[in-house]
């Protein structure tokens, strides 16, 4: 399969900060690569180099078959960039923004207008088309930004933290649009701080931290790197917690960990753990409101790779829907894209 993006040994220094210290990235045509890392890991620097906005100090990168340093113009013809901060012109209307970019891409007035209308329809912005984009909501602005990056039907699209600051419903909208894009054959490089987002959209994930790649794998492969599965049990009455702990201690590979007054978890191995545990809990007379068996969350993966927790709620509380299928309100649902919002998707992936 041909590579849409191929970068080797990218380094970039800004004064005293080594933003990139030798990063390799590869994406096959028509695939989605998630570049995952905390703030300041070097994700945006990498995207800016791949989008020809920055020159690397060292290393090479080819995008759609063209070298980003030697053939920037050819690269620019093949890419669409959606910035970390929506880079549409606030004072222009939605349609003016899109027509202007269409014309800068070489379309004549009429063709630019037609293409703008197509995208405004596709991104559900037709009603707001003639309003200045500064009046748009955050989600609308992201959609306009995404539309703006697609005018030239680019083969490769960079989405630099496309959902940062959006509430979960708006975030799902953006995700759906990314999925449509991929179905149409576009290669996507997505940077994100949200493990859940990479898990939901990307086929492969490159984890970077302090300007270095610390892991590269599929989402499932990454989870396996950390090994085993995690069993979580939420008891109906906190009084039963000790009993549940005793049961889990028998089936687990380590000591159970108490996560809250009614929630206990333990790493497990083997295929018979589930029925075994259910039975043991039943005979110990412990009523259970939530029961889940899942691969470790990406938060836990990240923790084991970097030794850093990503925010206070990371890892432990992100319980899956698991066997009970009960929706767990473990995360604050309106905390924009917080790692805890990973509930549903972890469940799906497991």
């Amino acid at each position: 399969m041909t590579k849409a993006i191929e970068a080797h040994g990218l380094t970039k220094r800004f004064g005293k900060t080594q933003a990139l210290a030798g990063v390799d990235l590869e994406v096959d045509e028509g695939r989605v690569l998630g570049v995952l890392g905390p703030n300041g890991a070097g994700k945006t620097t990498a995207v800016r180099i791949l989008a020809t906005l920055l020159r690397p100090d060292k290393g090479t990168a080819r995008v759609a078959g063209h070298d980003v340093v030697r053939e920037p113009k050819e690269v620019r013809r093949s890419i669409g960039l959606t910035g970390q901060y929506a880079s549409v012109d606030e004072d222009l209307t939605g349609v003016q923004n899109l027509v202007m970019i269409g014309r800068l891409l070489g379309l004549d007035r009429r063709a630019a207008r037609v293409r703008a209308d197509e995208l405004l329809t596709e991104f559900d912005l037709l009603e707001a088309a003639s309003r200045p984009s500064k009046t748009y909501s955050g989600g609308m602005r992201r959609r306009l930004d995404l539309a703006a990056s697609l005018i030239g039907r680019p083969a490769v699209v960079y989405l630099d933290e496309p959902t940062t600051g959006l509430d979960p419903a708006k975030r799902d909208d953006v995700w759906d649009m990314v999925r449509v894009l991929v179905r149409q054959g576009t290669t996507v490089l997505l940077t994100t701080q949200y493990l859940e987002e990479a898990d939901a959209l990307a086929e492969e994930i490159t984890v970077i931290d302090h300007g270095r790649v610390i892991a590269h794998d599929t989402p499932r492969g990454l989870k396996r790197q950390v090994g085993g599965q995690t069993l979580e049990v939420r008891v109906a009455h906190p009084a039963d917690l000790a009993a549940a702990q005793q049961v889990l201690a028998r089936v687990g590979t380590r000591e159970p960990e108490t996560l809250s007054a009614d929630l206990v978890s333990v790493p497990v191995a083997g295929d018979t753990v589930l029925p075994q545990t259910v039975q043991a809990l039943a005979s110990a007379n412990v009523p259970v409101v939530e029961f889940s068996l899942r691969l470790p969350s990406l938060d836990e993966v990240f923790y084991s790779l970097t030794g850093q927790r990503q925010g206070t709620d990371a890892g432990g509380t992100a319980s899956g829907t698991g066997a009970t299928g009960a929706p767990t309100a473990s995360g604050a649902p309106d905390a924009p894209g917080a790692p805890t919002a990973s509930t549903q998707n972890e469940g799906e992936a497991a």
């Binding site: 020809t52 970390q84 901060y85 880079s87 012109d89 004072d91 222009l92 003016q96 800068l104 990056s149």
Partner: protein, 255 residues
Amino acid sequence: MRDSLILAQRSVTKMFRKPEQFLDVTLQPIIMTVLFVFVFGGAIAGSTDEYLPFVLPGIIVQTVMFTSLTIGVNLNSDIEKGVFDRFRSLPIVRSAPLFGAVLGDIVRHAIAVGVTLIFGVIIGFRFHTDFLSAAGGILLMVLFAVCLCWVSVFIGMLARSSGAVQGLSFLITFPLTFGSSTFVPASTLPSWLQGWVAVNPVTHVIEALRGLLSGTQYMAAGTTLGGELLWVAGWCVVLVAVFFPLATWAYRRKV
């Protein structure tokens, strides 16, 4: 060139959408004219009728100075907001956004000059020269503004925020406009200030514009239209020779 024109169209569109920027080139010169002609005119020149042909060219120059120095603010905020990243990810000439902004600003200058002149005529200003001189005066203004705007572009590329650009530009504009013969004849100033006024490019633009619009009798004693035009041409060359390379260098470094 095509890209620059498309981007020039963008800055013109933006100007009409941003009332504060539009007011800069419409209401502000009118207020200045009213203030100076009717409030100070009698005290400075004996009568408002005497003062109007003297001060109107000055107000035109001042307005154009202010508008030509806003380009740095606009460019800086474009970069801040990430709009330039989008431009740069497009297959267009790298300097197109810069030249687009400069071209777009010509429309602003033309509006500023036009509004001030029309308002001047309404309150009694009469051209004492022929049509060609008047048209030449307007052209001279726009030309000077285009040369001066590179100072602002340079500041806009160096400063960290658009607010800082505004502050710095104001610092520069102030001595340039008030330390000149914009509002009072230079002969009334203390001699140390006259030294500055004599070399200040704005003084020469104003004197030349007085000669072209109001007639040579409103120019300072001892100056000739030809001499002043030469001064202006010289200053334009210096401004462009110094600040165009600096501005484009800073632009390339920044974007």
